[in-house]
Symmetry: C2
Subunit: 430 residues, 2 copies
């Protein structure tokens, strides 16, 4: 189900300027501070659709799935054609919180429905933050009241801000696309994530769908004014996520709360995007671009990151093995620290490839850092370390490995590992 | 093939004082400096057995196996009953060095045979250090000459020192055991390793043997005066390595050079240790204790480590799943940095368990740090964070997870991840 080439179809420019989500017809948003973050920053976000929306979602495959994940799965099974809102909080993940956590997540939904005036079962919920602490519901209640009263067409950026945890920047993306059979539609998205990033997202157990073989708390919400059935939206979301959010890693640690939700208002017009049509292909391409943009924004803003690193493995036995090889390289602490040091340590890259568990024929392996080839036929070739080190000291780095076996390929995005990574994670106390 | 309990059979005290390897009857050793290390420290080590020894070995399963690994495998297939010596160097791994590397490794063997006066094909070789650089053979030649001329019964510690790379301390272990049917035998060992530690050692392709499901350059050499057939020694070595070296991880990065070799001089007497006898069981127990001691010394001296961490998973579906769960926790950068920060962040431990890919029923999971229980039935229980944080600030930490499913269990040893880890690996340039 993976496309042969992930990156070549960027026919539609993604706009990463702020306010993405409320540029899409039918959506208002808000982001407020209710005291979940000690900093006093915004920590509660609300997105509302003017009309019942088609909805879809993919969720973490971690065995410890947080309460909001469990509840969203259930809601999507029963009401995927009539969703109206998503309520989100940062500062507390509502994970490993047992029955109380389930009740609190339900409360967040009920309070949102009451404050906005929406029917029962029409609100989805996402949480991110510390694990194992009950939500301070009195603050959440106040926050939901304020979020509901401040919903606006200008609220997109506040909303993106309110879901940040250790993120340094908001993640937003917007695109508008002409669909030949339908007219122009738009897609907007927000995301958060910086640590505990190695998404392994799949459909909920009750849904038929595409499976993926990969492995954040990362949260993302994508909205569109396209008209489409929930099943079509679900299918497209899974295809897009498998080659975007499921292709990033900061630390290899898959969260208990990872969630990507999608809402389609249908306000672009009366014609629906149907599976298997040229319109679907263009929509999927746009959705994939949004998801890749958001995913790459997360990898670039990984905890302590000084650079974005793209690992491109080609010539693998198949795409699944290319993903596995690329992720093993991306998650290697020795590779990540060498990247931080701008050290062209190709030996560590080959060592990671060699332990990845995929088919490797050492004498066929070639490796490039940027435009410089360092390895041919499994052996080093002469290169100027100063040139490569200068390249590696930039903020965008590409490593390409050709395994020389077959046509399997994948791109994975990650970041380096710095002193700051250790600082953030050793000094963030429970 | 894993024993039910790894640690309860410590009936024989392991002595970690220096000179372990030359306390075993039949072995002389030396360690010299020949300029492979920029520091000028010892970098070439030699161990010689007075008589033809039974030999066994396990080697990295990394696809990029270094020249010395490939050559030792071949030698053991053809002459496992008549080995006389092991030549070792640090500072250069002779990995990813192609045909030249194979030739250089053969040269090291040939030079040793010539200098010591040993028959052809009776010397094994191990290398550790930087990947992808040809060995400076002129220096190596000088080193071998000096090492051969300085062999002595007091050379054990110099030898242990000469195989260190980023190690801060030597790793040595010695035990003497009364075998009822045979008399007293002794086992001594040395090891090195600090980074790129996540051994995944198995028998060479040409050998029948035990398989393991786990994942350093780590090098180890174990010598004994017990008399035993090479097949018996190989079997015992694999059993011991599977619950020692294959149970440690510093960074999850499995090296191209990991090797454990064993030599048995037979000088304890005329009676051989035979598989399936009480003597074998006691020998195996002693060998396992030596290997666990050396393995734990490596984990404790992991790059930048401030503490040794034992992860004990029990109640797993089976032992293999317990190993997988424990290694996922041990390799989690979020868990390792929390340990550095002495933060009782049980949520990160559960999140790592939940992504490990093993059978998990969240509501059955319990977790202890030291003697303090933090989680019962998958949910936090009240504990004093100050008490746990004080415990975590010590140099020996135990984390125990009871998965509540079945009787599978495993112990894995690792260390925390500190600023110094990043410094060592970002500033070590190729």
């Amino acid at each position: 189900m993976t496309r042969g080439n992930d990156m070549n179809d960027r026919s539609h420019e993604v706009d990463v300027s702020s306010g993405a989500i409320t540029r899409v017809a039918g959506f208002t948003a808000s982001g407020v501070a209710c005291g979940l973050k000690a900093s006093g920053d915004r920590d509660l976000a609300l997105v509302v659709c003017d009309v019942p929306a088609s909805a879809a979602g993919v969720f973490t495959r971690n065995a410890f799935r947080a309460a909001p994940v469990l509840i969203d799965e259930r809601l999507l099974e029963h009401n995927a054609q009539g969703m109206r809102a998503v309520i989100m909080n940062a500062g507390n993940a509502n994970a490993c919180t047992g029955e109380q956590g389930m009740w609190d997540a339900q409360q967040m939904i009920g309070l949102t429905e009451a404050e906005v005036g929406l029917p029962a079962g029409s609100v989805l919920v996402m949480s991110t933050g510390v694990i194992g602490h009950p939500l301070p519901m009195e603050r959440v209640r106040e926050g939901i009241r304020e979020a509901a009263s401040t919903l606006s067409l200008q609220g997109g950026h506040d909303c993106a801000e309110a879901i940040m945890t250790t993120d340094l920047v908001t993640k937003e993306a917007y695109v508008s696309l002409p669909l030949p059979g339908i007219g122009t539609i738009s897609i907007g998205g927000i995301a958060k994530g910086s640590g505990m990033i190695a998404p392994d997202l799949g459909p909920s157990s009750g849904m038929a769908g595409i499976d993926s073989s990969s492995h954040a708390t990362m949260l993302a919400l994508v909205v569109t004014d396209a008209r489409m059935a929930p099943e079509t939206l679900q299918y497209a979301l899974e295809e897009a996520v498998n080659i975007s959010f499921n292709r990033i890693t900061v630390d290899g640690d898959t969260s208990t709360n990872d969630t990507v939700l999608a809402l389609a208002s249908g306000l672009s017009g009366d014609s629906a995007v149907e599976l298997g049509t040229p319109d679907y292909a263009i929509f999927l391409d746009g959705l994939t671009n949004i998801c890749q943009s958001l995913a790459i924004q997360i990898a670039r803003d990984g905890e302590g990151a000084t650079k974005l690193v793209e690992i491109h493995v080609k010539g693998a036995y198949d795409d699944a093995q290319a993903v596995m090889a690329a992720k093993t390289i991306a998650n290697s602490p020795l590779v990540k620290t060498a990247l931080f040091g701008s050290d062209p340590n190709w030996g560590r890259i080959l060592a990671a490839l060699g332990r990845s568990g995929v088919h490797v024929n050492p004498v066929r392996v070639a490796l490039w850092i940027g435009d410089t080839q360092l390895v041919a036929n499994g052996e080093p070739i002469p290169f100027d370390p100063k040139v490569v080190s200068a390249y590696l000291s930039g903020v965008n780095v590409t490593i390409e490995v050709d395994m020389g076996l077959s046509s399997g390929q994948a791109r994975v995005w990650t970041c380096d590992m710095s002193y700051r990574y250790v600082e953030i994670n050793a000094e963030y106390h429970t």
